[in-house]
Symmetry: C2
Subunit: 200 residues, 2 copies
C-alpha cells in the first residue's frame, strides 16, 4: 500500500494501524472504506471520536469512564457503596453488570502491575483506592483482576497495602467454568477447582 | 457495553462497529483505546480521516484514488498508456504493482456487477472505461477482476461492450497457484489449469 496509493490514504491507513488489533491489511481496507463513506458519515464518525475524548473523563471516586460528575455506579444511591470490586479496565465492569448479581461499586486500576511492560504500581489508580478506603465506609474490597501472573501479582500487592486499614479483602474464586468440560480444563484450573472444593 | 458505559463511549463504539470487519467487541475496545490516546494523538487521527476524505478524489482518467490532478499511474509518462488493466478496487492495483512486471495503466471499476447486492453496470465506472477506449490510443484491455461469479460476469459484460471498438481484450490466466499443492487445488482451479495447459 505504502507506495501505490494516494498519500493521505497511506497516512490514514497508518493511523488505523496504530489502533489495537488492526493490522496493516485491515487498516488499508478501513482507509479505503472512509473514501466510500459520505461526507456526513465521516463527520458523524469524527464527531463521535472528538466527543468521547472531550466529554468523557474518569470518575473522581472509582476512576471508571463517565461523562457525568460521578459515574453511574458511584452516583447511584441504590448501590452498596460499602463493597468495592477492583478491576483492571472499565470494560471489566460490563462483565460484572451482566451477572445482574453484583450490587456494589467498582474501582478501576487502568492496568496491572507488569515490570516487563514497564508498568509500576504508581502508574495505576492504587493510591486513589487507598485514599478511598482510608475515608471509611468500605467493608469489603473484592480483588477482581484477571487470573494471570500480572493479575495475581497486582491483587496480592494491593491486598497487602489494604491490610493496615482493617478492611476485608477477597479474591474471585477460581475453578471450572460452568458449562466447561473436565477433559479440556488446564492443569492449573483443575488444581484450583480441586483445592477450592466445597462440601455438598 | 451499551448499558454500562458512558454514553459518548457507546456512541463511539457504534461508529467503530459500522466500519468493515469490526465487530461490537472490537468496537468497544477501540472506543476505550481512544480514551487512552493523548489529545494530540486523537487530533492526528481525526486530521488523517478528514484530510483523506477532503483531499483524495478519483482520478478523472482511471478512477483510482489520488490527491493529485491525475493519479500516479495516469500522470506517469514512463508507463505504457496503451495497456489498461481493469480492476475492481484501488487496492487491487497494489497487488499488480508488487509484481514489478506490469508497466501499463489501470482502470478501477469500484465494484462488480452483482444483481443480488443490487449493483448494476450503471453503478460501476464502465462508461468511463468505454469513453477512454473510444478516445483512442489503447491497444489492449486486460480484464483483471477476481475469479468469482461476479468477477467473471463483469469481465464478460465489459468485454462484450468493448468488442465494437476493435480493442484487444484479454483475461488473467487461471490455473494452479505457484507454490500450491495439486492435492489441495479445488476442482475448478484444476480444471482451468488443465484446460489452459501449455506445451513445454
Amino acid at each position: 500500500m505504502a507506495d501505490h496509493s494516494a498519500l493521505p490514504l497511506v497516512v490514514l491507513a497508518e493511523q488505523f494501524a496504530k489502533l489495537p488489533g488492526i493490522g496493516m491489511k485491515s487498516a488499508q481496507r478501513l482507509a479505503y472504506h472512509v473514501m466510500e463513506m459520505s461526507q456526513s458519515e465521516v463527520d458523524e464518525f469524527v464527531r463521535a471520536v472528538q466527543a468521547a475524548k472531550k466529554t468523557v473523563h474518569t470518575c473522581p471516586v472509582c476512576q471508571n469512564f463517565t461523562e457525568q460528575q460521578l459515574c453511574r455506579f458511584c452516583g447511584d444511591t441504590r448501590r452498596d457503596h460499602s463493597t468495592v470490586c477492583v478491576v483492571e479496565t472499565p470494560k471489566d465492569i460490563s462483565a460484572f453488570e451482566r451477572t445482574k448479581e453484583y450490587k456494589g461499586v467498582y474501582h478501576v486500576l487502568h492496568g496491572l502491575i507488569s515490570p516487563i511492560d514497564g508498568v509500576g504500581p504508581d502508574m495505576l489508580k492504587i493510591k486513589e483506592l487507598l485514599a478511598r478506603v482510608n475515608q471509611g465506609g468500605i467493608a469489603e474490597v473484592i480483588m477482581a483482576t484477571n487470573p494471570t501472573v500480572e493479575g495475581e501479582a497486582t491483587a496480592m500487592y494491593i491486598s497487602k497495602l489494604l491490610k493496615p486499614f482493617g478492611v476485608k479483602v477477597t479474591r474471585l474464586a477460581f475453578g471450572l467454568p460452568i458449562g466447561g468440560m473436565l477433559e479440556y480444563a488446564d492443569e492449573v484450573t483443575l488444581y484450583k477447582a480441586l483445592e477450592n472444593r466445597n462440601e455438598i
